[in-house]
């Protein structure tokens, strides 16, 4: 009778479902991400070969390589990795909670709120606060968080409904965008240039200081998400079913949405509002893993892969230091369309 059931992985009293495809694809994604991470470090004004990069990362490298890799290139690659993972997981959470693939932090106004706050700070202080200092990331994070909370409370009416959340998010996003544009129109031209560079999303000139803050905050948030996510599983069936299965869905949803908002906020504050990663990473990962709902860990890995991959292409292949945000949209968009079209063709066949 149990032949048709899932096999389990059981160690003592601990047990999990064994899903080979998910484990396999996630492992491949992790390996690919690490590879692209290393390649991203190896290329630059002069190339360091991959084996040296890997040796240096694990502390076995030569002095010269160590300086270039650890001090110059590592921060940029690492910020890309963290920001991508944070966006991927944030998107997977918002899409799961709203039960709607459109519900990404960009659409829900979190990114817009963070941008408006950051631009306000840059223009209001006459450029005294610039990218890289602690003020700008902190302002962006606060702006993102406040906007996220605003959207949540505006959308709350005897519970949270996915469509309402998205509609309110779109409206608030539009207001934030208008605000950002208005600030830019009023501002001094030099501040505008600074703000614009930040607004398209970029991994340029990262330092270790930023890396550590971003890293620890992200790791802590992801830990909370992974522990709480077990309670998220029945919530895909609707609030009533979740309650019937013993889930305190309001509390779980509040915790996970807060984590999603903070993850997106941290990402935006570290790299600017990189578009599309949070929307596209969970959707692509779902199709690669063939899961009915966005998988969290794999979405994070794919987000990281997409972001550092895009950065890799943006730097040497294309001229004029194209910001990473433009490349994520150019790569991510068509790839998602391809997966959707392929699924349609398969169904038609």
């Amino acid at each position: 009778m149990s032949t048709q059931m899932h096999p389990g992985v059981r160690v003592g009293n601990w047990s999990w479902v064994w899903r080979p495809r998910i484990v396999l694809v996630t492992t491949i994604l992790a390996a690919l991400t690490f590879l692209v991470f290393c390649v991203s470090i190896s290329v630059g004004d002069f190339t360091i070969d991959l084996p040296s990069v890997i040796r240096t990362i694990f502390g076995q490298g030569e002095r010269v390589d160590e300086f270039v890799i650890m001090d110059l290139r590592m921060p940029r690659a690492l910020v890309g990795l963290i920001v991508g993972a944070a966006l991927g997981i944030s998107g997977a959470l918002t899409q799961s909670i709203a039960r709607n693939p459109l519900a990404s932090p960009d659409v829900l106004g979190i990114t817009g709120g963070a941008s408006a706050t950051a631009v306000f700070l840059v223009t209001a202080t006459g450029g005294a606060v610039v990218t890289g200092t602690i003020g700008l990331p902190a302002a962006a994070l606060t702006g993102g968080l406040l906007t996220g909370l605003l959207v949540y409370f505006l959308a709350w009416r005897r519970g949270i409904d996915g469509f309402r959340l998205i509609l309110i998010g779109v409206a608030v996003s539009a207001v934030m965008q208008a605000l950002t544009t208005w600030l830019l129109v009023l501002a001094d031209i030099r501040d505008v240039a600074r703000a614009q560079a930040w607004l398209v999303g970029s991994l340029d000139s990262r330092s270790w200081g930023e890396v550590w803050t971003t890293l620890w905050v992200t790791v802590a948030l992801i830990a909370v998400v992974l522990v709480t996510a077990f309670q998220l599983q029945p919530m895909h069936f609707g609030d009533d079913v979740a309650a019937g299965l013993g889930v305190r869905y309001s509390a779980v949803r509040a915790v996970l949405l807060l984590c999603a908002v903070l993850l997106a906020g941290v990402a935006v504050s570290a790299a600017g509002p990189v578009p599309f990663v949070a929307l596209v990473a969970p959707q692509i990962t779902m199709r690669l893993l063939r899961t009915p709902v966005p998988p969290l860990i794999a979405s994070g890995l794919f987000g990281a892969l997409l972001l550092i991959g895009s950065d890799l292409i943006a730097r040497p292949v294309l001229p004029n230091d194209l910001p990473v945000g433009i490349v994520t949209a150019i790569i991510g968009g068509p790839f998602l369309v391809y997966l959707l079209v392929r699924a349609n063709l398969k169904r038609a066949a």
């Binding site: 899932h6 077990f230 009533d240 309650a243």
Partner: protein, 273 residues
């Protein structure tokens, strides 16, 4: 377990008042659900029958009064403990596209699981049994969205069974089903009752309710107007008073229950008697 307050009854409500915003839906209502039988709540649209079921299942919190489950105030029990004692199938459950039957039914084990204990051999056994009992074992690897409405409803009932309780609350389990599938699903509910389950459900179809229930709760405007075995409860006077329905109640040629034959304005060949 502490002493039961309602003799053998596992579930009941004492003086519950429930409302939305400024509207009171249930007003100071008492009800006891007999154990081991099928209880069906019937009543006209908007009479509060779904609200009663939602209150009994703790989806709604009463403003006043208490719901008692196994002698405990349900509001004081942990959500997870309620889920271990009582299975619930709400009106519009959502199955994500592509989710397989086995995965959906396996979620029924949620109240018994934890982060480190997500799929024990107990879970596997109970889920296999639930799939088997509801006749959906052969569909285990099919996506839920590829099934017919009747099969889908069997799958959801299977999930509530996997919770491992013998107290099931079903909110309109036959809605949107054609008559053949409705009979199929409700026969399944009867099988579960034969197997020892206590069932509380809300039904729209009066004749199905009469045929399959041992205990009817008839509601009107937030109050219970009658309760008991269908043969005792269902009369043409009650149907007229409660539903505003002119009908003849005759002996069902198939079962030993009453049969409701509605009298509309047209197509009436015999005069009313």
């Amino acid at each position: 377990m502490t002493a039961l307050r309602n003799d053998a009854a596992r579930l009941g409500a004492e003086g519950v008042t429930v409302g939305y915003a400024d509207r009171v839906v249930l007003d100071n209502l008492d009800v006891t659900i007999p154990t081991g039988v099928i209880t069906t709540v019937i009543g006209p649209n908007g009479c509060g029958k779904s609200t009663l079921l939602r209150t009994l299942s703790r989806l709604l919190k009463p403003r006043q009064g208490t719901v008692l489950l196994d002698g405990h105030d349900i509001a004081r029990l942990k959500t997870k403990d309620v889920a271990k004692r009582m299975g619930l199938l709400p009106q519009t459950p959502i199955a994500p596209e592509g989710l397989t039957v086995a995965d959906l039914v396996a979620r029924g084990r949620h109240p018994h699981q934890s982060w480190v204990r997500q799929w024990s051999s107990d879970d596997a056994d109970v889920v296999a049994k639930a799939l088997h009992m509801t006749g959906v074992a052969d569909l285990a690897h099919r996506p839920v969205d590829s099934l017919s409405g009747g099969q889908r409803q069997r799958v959801w009932i299977s999930m509530t069974l996997a919770q491992g309780t013998d107290l099931l609350l079903l909110d309109e389990p036959t809605t949107y089903l054609d008559l053949a599938h409705a009979i199929d699903v409700i026969d399944l509910v009867d099988d579960l009752h034969e197997g020892g389950c206590t069932i509380v459900m809300v039904l729209h179809d009066l004749n199905l309710a009469v045929r399959y229930s041992d205990n009817l709760i008839v509601m009107k405007s937030g109050s219970i107007v009658a309760q008991g075995h269908p043969s005792e409860v269902i009369t043409s006077e009650l149907l007229l008073d409660t539903f505003g329905l002119q009908a003849k109640v005759i002996d069902d040629p198939v079962s030993e229950r009453p049969l409701i034959v509605p009298i509309g304005r047209t197509h009436v060949a015999v005069t009313k008697s």
